[in-house]
Symmetry: C2
Subunit: 152 residues, 2 copies
DNA sequence: GCTTATAATCTACAGGGGCTTATCATCTGT
DNA sequence: ACAGATGATAAGCCCCTGTAGATTATAAGC
């Protein structure tokens, strides 16, 4: 294995830069990063509880309340009591929310594609495939990777 | 281009997990993340000013003072006035500092290699090559990538 | 019915980190 | 020699975030 910087030492500044790249696009859409994260998380489908949402985007459950308040006030999400358990709130995107998310995401994608275009043609696909594979791993398997198994 | 999550949406949780992975190793060596960053930055060779060091690790120049104080007190770095410009402090690793950095880095590497081992054999090399290419770009080219040019 | 547990919410608090200003020493240009 | 710039440092402020308790509504088990 050839010598290389620590993974985190490469990832951290890169991530910062990627977030800086998103910032102006999100600002145009009046979205904070947390708010955008919520819209992305709800893309997959409605969620049953706010706590689940908070965990899925790595946020504190008390912290996203204000974010949800704002999104709801702007008609971007719906937050209705679960009829089966009225303590919980069912969260889902409205059509308007979906539209705003698509618009923001499109702007972000455009920049990202320009960035990816700078990678050597031959590495690009493998890079994205590996990245998706790592991103799909549960966090604890990254923090403390099991010794060998590739195919359980 | 196939559909995929936003780059930042994949990078951010991955980076967090990688940092969590480093935390216990660094704790064993009594190093904060900033302190480790300093040791890594000085690996390349001595630096002429603290401000340059701060910038190179993405820290605030006023914030690393305490970190440097601690590292110096522990004999891990040297901080001597530049004879050519006595306002500046020449920063360099001591032998002990180099030893500690190597030890911490070795622990971190071990985990990282286990993680990389989980990637499909064929993608691993391209992944690392692409990652290094991106990490080598100046931040503003990531934030706002130029339209085309790969070879200026 | 009563007790215990859970979801959401609010408030208060503490820590980390960035940013700003002021100070001191030193250098550079005139 | 003097004025203005620069490096290091210290102190204070502010923001973001995470944590902990208290509160309310609701559920579920006994």
């Amino acid at each position: 294995m050839t010598d290389r910087p620590d993974l985190a030492a490469m990832f951290l500044p890169l991530t910062r830069a990627l977030i800086d790249a998103e910032r102006p696009v999100l600002a145009e859409h009046d979205l904070s990063m947390w708010a955008y994260g919520v819209l992305l998380a709800l893309e997959e489908g409605p969620l049953r509880t706010q706590a689940a949402l908070a965990q899925s985007i790595g946020a504190d459950k008390t912290r996203i309340i204000g974010v949800l308040d704002d999104l709801q006030r702007r008609g971007l999400i719906e937050r209705v009591p679960d009829p089966a358990d009225r303590r919980a709130r069912l969260l889902s995107l409205t059509a308007e929310g979906r539209r705003l998310r698509d618009s923001a995401q499109a702007g972000i994608r455009r920049r990202e594609e320009r960035l990816l275009a700078r990678l050597p043609e031959g590495d690009r696909e493998g890079f994205l495939r590996a990245l998706r594979a790592l991103a799909a791993l549960p966090p604890h398997e990254i923090t403390d990777p099991p010794p060998e198994v590739t195919d359980p």
